[in-house]
């Protein structure tokens, strides 16, 4: 556990911890002995279950349908040191280390920063909120007897269905905690930042609990230095009460040598609305799992996705929208831009239970190929057990539209500029849905820089 607020963090670049790198689960026993002796028994049980499940399941292989297009075996060959709060080695991280890596510094005055999965007091900007709102680090709450944390933590994510969730569960130690009581609409967005350093494997666990009629915007931003090799394996659990509204942003701007595997598991109450923006640019190997369970009638969700990759980057977006109640709506639009020899995967599953009558679900995925060596596998997956439903899906893969290119050139615009404008235009169809101005501008800048 992180001790107090005086913890200082190691140097960002090419961190040398002095500890031996260990296999993905190898650090479990030593960390347990060093840091978890006073953990509450329920938490120990969660970790123990995660460890046992991961030991049993191991890393998934491409023989498994869910991992058919994504080979994670490189993770097993790579060695990462266990995350630990640093007391030694290098200089403490400063504001400037953070600001040069963040998409924008102005996303929110409320910013919780986690370095290798551990909360950093010095880099975070917190505030007191009225009406019982809680935003903070899970790490310090796990040392207290916090009944809400105990109630919600590890209640929605499913370690038995996914190795990486199991692995994350084994190492639950810190992450973001956002608690919005019934009827409270928090106007300040909660900006959660995860900065990883070279050589470390970290497993942040975030829990967002939004009461009946409550509303919040949460931004998860994942960053790391160029060239740093690390593994970030976050799990986010979101519980939404009846009529709750959540705007969730996940911005993945990891090092291009990083492994990033994320799970977002959402459980929605009656009449609630969840909006997910999944925006990815970095990473060597990225897998996003975003699952929303519409468990209350009249609830809705919207999944927006954009990824832009090149080189040999691999991004796999696996989404699940589970219609478990009648009169729910879901809409999903994913755009991918692939250059170089990049590989993209879109697997969008829509599951409609028998009782989920009058479901209205739309799904679109589009991929723009900037290079003939890039490839994408797009797979809509509809499993419908109700008879009165409206479900549509479509997937397109293509290159820059020739007619548009010709039209723009006929107005004097050069071929290169027209291609850039059209590529940005393709991305903007997703970024235009971003409601936070500073974030949208940051994204547009990122796109301009990338092109």
């Amino acid at each position: 556990m992180v001790e107090g607020s005086s913890v200082e963090w190691g140097a960002l670049i090419m961190l040398e911890s002095g500890r031996q790198p260990l296999s993905l689960l190898g650090a479990y026993e030593s960390v347990k002995k060093e840091r978890w002796t006073r953990s509450p028994s329920w938490l120990s049980a969660v970790r123990e279950e995660g460890r046992a499940l991961f030991e049993k399941m191991g890393l998934p292989t491409r023989r498994q349908e869910e991992w058919k297009y994504t080979d994670v075996s490189a993770l097993g060959r790579q060695e990462f040191s266990a995350p630990f709060p640093m007391h030694s080695a290098g200089r403490p991280l400063e504001e400037s280390d953070l600001s040069r890596l963040l998409l924008s510094e102005d996303i929110s005055p409320l910013r919780l920063v986690f370095v290798d999965g551990f909360y950093s007091h010095s880099l975070s900007r917190t505030g007191k909120f009225p009406d019982g709102v809680e935003t903070g680090d899970l790490g310090s709450l796990l040392k207290e007897d916090h009944s809400m944390v105990e109630k919600h933590l590890a209640s929605y994510a499913k370690p038995d269905e996914n190795s990486f969730v199991a692995l994350n569960s084994a190492f639950i130690e810190d992450g973001g905690w956002v608690y919005i009581p019934d009827g409270v609409r928090l106007t300040v967005p909660v900006h959660l930042v995860y900065l990883s350093t070279n050589g470390v494997g970290s497993h942040p666990r975030n829990v967002v609990v939004v009461g009946n009629g409550a509303a919040v915007t949460v931004i998860e931003e994942y960053i790391g230095d160029a060239g740093a090799v690390y593994f970030s394996n976050p799990v986010t659990e979101i519980r939404m009460g009846d009529g709750a509204e959540v705007e969730h942003y996940k911005i993945q701007r990891e090092s291009e040598d990083a492994f990033h595997i994320a799970m977002i598991e959402v459980k929605q109450g009656e009449g609630s609305r969840f909006v997910s923006h999944n925006l990815g640019f970095g990473g060597r190997l990225t897998r996003n799992n975003i699952h929303s369970y519409l468990t209350g009638p009249g609830s809705s969700c919207m999944f927006n996705g954009l990824f832009m990759i090149g080189g040999t980057q691999h991004v796999d977006n696996h989404t699940l929208i589970h219609h478990g109640a009648p009169d729910c709506r879901s809409e999903e639009v994913y755009h991918g831009i692939l250059d170089g020899r990049a590989r993209g995967v879109f697997n969008g599953k829509i599951y409609v239970e028998r009782e989920a009558q009058r479901t209205d679900s739309r799904q679109t995925s589009r991929s723009l190929m900037l290079s003939t060596d890039a490839a994408v596998d797009a797979k809509p997956q509809l499993e419908i057990f109700a008879d009165d439903v409206k479900c549509t899906h479509g997937a397109t893969v293509g290159q820059i539209d020739r007619d548009s290119l010709y039209y723009m050139r006929s107005r004097g615009i050069s071929m290169d500029e027209a291609r850039r404008m059209l590529t940005r235009g393709f991305a903007r169809q997703i970024t235009d849905r971003v409601k936070l101005d500073s974030l949208r501008q940051g994204l547009e800048q990122e796109l301009t820089n990338k092109l």
């Binding site: 050139r409 107005r411 500029e417 235009g425």
Partner: protein
């Protein structure tokens, strides 16, 4: 300004234009009329620089230079503008940004400074009000969700903004009601200047009531089979295109 000499083209191996001759001087307005399939749109696309058209014979000179050697963007920068029959919709590309980028590219080519966003807005709003366009269309994606008439107005807006020397209007009247037609025609007529030339390509004579041509050419089966003054347009309107068939078969012009 434009000299088309014995122009032959093929599309997918099929001969479409079979020897076009056309001479357009500064200050003139030419109308090219013809039935469907006569080669009107092919001629437009060849002049604009679309790559799918293979020129098998002949030449096109623009201001004395070989037009066919120029990429589409070079033609535009050198002062050619084509108002397309079917302007494309470009989702995600902001109309205002598109117009400003085009304008500044052409200005730079002429050795002028870029125009900034503020001055641009002033300028474009004047042009928009001239042709009865809602300024709200600036904030939309290029032509996306525009009605047929709105797309045509957006073409005319680009013409008045980019101030080309040679304007080619391809079926600009199609999809326009009479009020819109008058507004568009007025926009074009403001462009009738001694140093500028206009080529109006159309199936119907209707547009020519408002944009009076100096010369009318009839295109049929890939050839100009008859040329004359504006009265020829009226004759076509009355008698249709069929009577020209014989003229063409007899090789008469």
């Amino acid at each position: 300004m434009l000299e088309v000499r014995n122009l032959h083209t093929k599309v997918d191996g099929k001969a479409i234009l079979k020897g076009i001759d056309l001479s357009v001087k500064a200050g003139e307005v030419h109308a090219i009329m013809g039935p469907n399939g006569s080669g009107k749109s092919t001629l437009t696309q060849v002049l604009a620089g679309r790559e799918d058209y293979e020129v098998t014979e002949g030449e096109v000179l623009y201001k004395g230079r070989d037009l066919l050697e120029m990429a589409p963007e070079i033609r535009a920068r050198e002062g050619i503008f084509v108002a397309f029959q079917y302007p494309v919709e470009i989702p995600g590309v902001n109309n205002s940004y598109f117009l400003r980028t085009a304008l500044n590219t052409i200005r730079r080519h002429k050795g002028l400074e870029d125009i900034d966003a503020f001055d641009f807005l002033e300028m474009i709003k004047t042009h928009m009000s001239d042709i009865g366009m809602d300024p709200g269309m600036l904030d939309r994606s290029v032509n996306e969700g525009f009605s047929g008439g709105e797309k045509k107005r957006n073409e005319i807006l680009q013409m008045s903004l980019l101030r080309p020397d040679l304007t080619i209007l391809d079926e600009t009247d199609s999809g326009l009601d009479i009020d819109a037609l008058k507004i568009v025609a007025a926009g074009v007529n403001r462009f009738r200047q001694p140093d500028k030339a206009i080529v109006v390509i159309t199936h119907y004579q209707r547009l020519l009531d408002y944009i009076e041509p100096d010369f009318v050419h009839v295109l049929w089966n890939g050839q100009i089979v008859k040329s004359g003054q504006k009265e020829l347009a009226f004759e076509l309107e009355e008698r249709g295109y069929d009577w020209l068939r014989e003229a063409a078969l007899n090789g008469g012009r």
